[in-house]
């Protein structure tokens, strides 16, 4: 029952996102759609033009609800139309070729950042009152208030351009023929190192502060006092008693952030010219490529919704109180 409720909730958001996609080009001043149609004229097959007309409602002799239903039907079948930017590739193909890069890049950055950040959080809560442990959270709070792209560009400039230690763009070297061999994998990892490092440095702080605050709260619970009074070694109290319980909210945040993997990469991928879905979104926006833009937005929203739904299911299994 609970799972069904959540499913209905996420489906309703999915519907809201599609509707937003449908309404935006129609509501905005300056009529983006006609401009796009004018550009597409003569470039596309009549069928593609027809699909565009439906997507943007340019052939406004049809009533709005009719256009809306046609749009819903096309979207649900995955018919997103043809991309202008990557012409004549269909939008679905652009997404299929960019999505894996994003999943790899941001996925690994999220995992690394979570592990290191949570570890540092435990340390800084445990060693509270000592200078280093108290300075670390402040330092990362300050790093987190720097603009991400600025930090990334500075890293790119110093480590990539001046020192030449890392490549400054793309996901693998041009000389590599794509394929599963050691050299290609090495090249891919080498190209991903700097973007991942920039993401980890700027997002560590959030994980650390979260874990630190959770752990400090847990450490003042009665059962921790009891464990201390029993004479258990401090290390065991912190790791086995406190950390385990403080981990729960962290794991929720981690699961939620996995949903944001697809969309979280926009700025990173632009700075490092990384061929992921965020870079494609940027290309779409700067080229007024509305079909591609709408589809990417929908993919990003869907990823978040699915991740959240899975967390809900997991939680209702782990903690029966949630269902009530």
């Amino acid at each position: 029952m609970y799972v069904l409720k959540r499913a209905v909730f996420y489906l309703s958001i999915f519907w809201a996102a599609i509707t937003l996609n449908f309404l935006l080009p129609r509501m905005m001043p300056g009529n983006a759609a006609t401009a796009v149609m004018a550009r597409a004229q003569g470039q596309m097959s009549p069928q593609a033009l027809k699909a565009l007309e439906i997507a943007f409602g340019v052939s406004s002799n049809q009533p709005l609800w009719h256009q809306y239903l046609a749009y819903l039907w096309n979207t649900l079948r995955g018919h997103f139309g043809i991309s202008f930017t990557y012409f004549p590739e269909p939008v679905s193909q652009v997404i299929a070729s960019t999505l894996p890069w994003t999943l790899f890049l941001i996925g690994s950055a999220t995992i690394i950042s979570f592990v290191i950040g949570t570890g540092l959080g435990v340390l800084s809560a445990w060693r509270r009152g000592r200078k280093v442990a108290d300075a670390i959270p402040v330092a990362f709070t300050l790093i987190a208030s720097m603009p991400y792209f600025w930090v990334a560009l500075a890293l790119l400039y110093v480590l990539g351009f001046v020192l030449g230690w890392f490549p400054i763009a793309h996901s693998f070297s041009d000389e590599q023929s794509p394929g599963f061999n050691l050299q290609t994998i090495g090249s891919v990892l080498y190209h991903a190192a700097l973007p991942i490092a920039s993401l980890v440095v700027t997002s560590l702080g959030g994980w650390m502060l979260g874990m630190r605050n959770n752990l400090i709260s847990v450490l003042s619970e009665d059962y921790i006092t009891l464990a201390q009074m029993k004479g258990l070694p401090e290390r065991e109290v912190v790791t086995n008693y406190a950390t385990r319980n403080a981990m729960l909210p962290q794991i929720t945040s981690f699961a939620m952030s996995l949903g944001f993997v697809v969309g979280g990469a926009v700025v990173t991928e632009i700075v490092f010219s990384y061929p992921g879905i965020g870079y494609a979104l940027y290309q779409a926006v700067t080229n007024s490529d509305y079909p591609l833009m709408q589809a990417i937005f929908l993919i990003i929203v869907t990823a978040v919704l699915i991740a959240n739904f899975l967390i809900d299911i997991l939680y209702s299994r782990l903690d029966p109180r949630v269902s009530n």
Binding site: M28, R128, M146, F161, N213, S220, V266, Q294, F297
Partner: protein, 310 residues
């Protein structure tokens, strides 16, 4: 330094009546000035605000004028040099603070107001209104904001900062609304709120007199958080060329610096100052928020605090 545990809204129930309430409020305010991080944060913010107000007195060059020698390194005539368009970087930095801070303050204030209205209404009224408002809040929580902002701003044409401000506010109020709703829900059941309701006060008297004072620190912390978020989002959007790149802000400075390959050409004085300005101003807001957290949550402050001692 000793603070009273009852300055923490989430842990202890507060004494309900007039004089006692005033006293704890003062303790809380004073505590802010006793905290080194808070003082640093407040001083830095004050300097930036004064700098923005008195910009013409500090920077004598017209920030828009493209009349100077190109790409000059910092000198006594141009404190931060000139950029690739022949503009004075220091003037741009000082005048740019106006737009960046306008966006941060306005978007932060609007987002906080929405979250306050939605959160308190939905937590206090419960029932049908709560269901509807919670649904809306959850939608905005789940929909990823940067891609949404990018998509929204791609449809817009800018003549002022207001579209950006509204878009940022619209996509960032939901976290605050959720925590304020939870807090209101729990406060609503406290004895002193019940007392106020039973004594015949109308709902707005209860909300203004009993609920609001107790969520004030949460609202303030939400405001600071939204301001940092707005500052950084504006910078990112401007950097991507999606903001109003013709007005001078720290973000648009970075956009022009990047587009003219300032770093690769060695013009560090064009690229570094706007980023440092954002980092210092945002850092000051973050420090203030950090200290607010320490003051209102006693567990974060001292090493061995026991809850049952309260």
């Amino acid at each position: 330094m000793e603070y009273h545990a009852d300055s923490d809204v989430s842990l202890a129930s507060r004494p309900p009546k007039g004089s006692a309430k005033k006293k704890t409020k003062n303790v809380r305010l004073l505590a802010l000035f006793g905290n080194a991080k808070a003082v640093i944060g407040l001083v830095v913010i004050a300097i930036f605000v004064l700098g923005a107000i008195f910009a013409p007195l500090i920077a004598h060059d017209n920030p828009n004028a493209e009349v100077y020698m190109l790409n000059q390194p910092p000198s006594s005539a141009h404190l931060l040099g000139t950029n690739g368009l022949g503009q004075d970087v220091f003037s741009q930095l000082v005048y740019g603070s106006r737009v960046s801070m306008e966006v941060a303050f306005s978007a932060g204030a609007i987002a906080t107001t929405i979250s306050l209205l939605v959160g308190v209404t939905s937590g206090y009224l419960r029932g049908f209104a709560d269901n509807v408002l919670s649904w809306i809040t959850n939608v905005f929580l789940v929909v990823p904001s940067l891609p949404l902002v990018i998509v929204l701003s791609s449809y817009m044409h800018y003549r002022s900062e207001w579209p950006i401000i509204l878009v940022i506010a619209l996509t960032s109020w939901a976290w605050g609304a959720r925590s304020l709703r939870a807090q209101t829900l729990s406060l609503r059941e406290r004895d002193y709120v019940l007392h106020a309701r039973l004594s015949g006060q109308s709902w707005w008297q209860v909300v203004l007199g009993e609920i609001l004072p107790n969520i004030a620190s949460l609202v303030l912390s939400g405001l600071l958080f939204s301001m940092i978020n707005a500052l950084l989002t504006e910078a990112s959007l401007a950097f991507l060329g999606l903001g109003n790149i013709n007005s001078i802000s720290w973000g648009s400075m970075l956009y022009w610096a990047q587009n003219n390959e300032a770093l690769i050409n060695g013009l560090w004085w064009w690229f570094i100052p706007p980023g440092v300005a954002i980092a210092v101003f945002g850092g000051a807001l973050a420090l203030l928020n950090f200290s607010l957290d320490e003051i209102t949550n006693p567990r974060l402050r001292k090493r061995k605090v026991r809850v049952h001692e309260q």
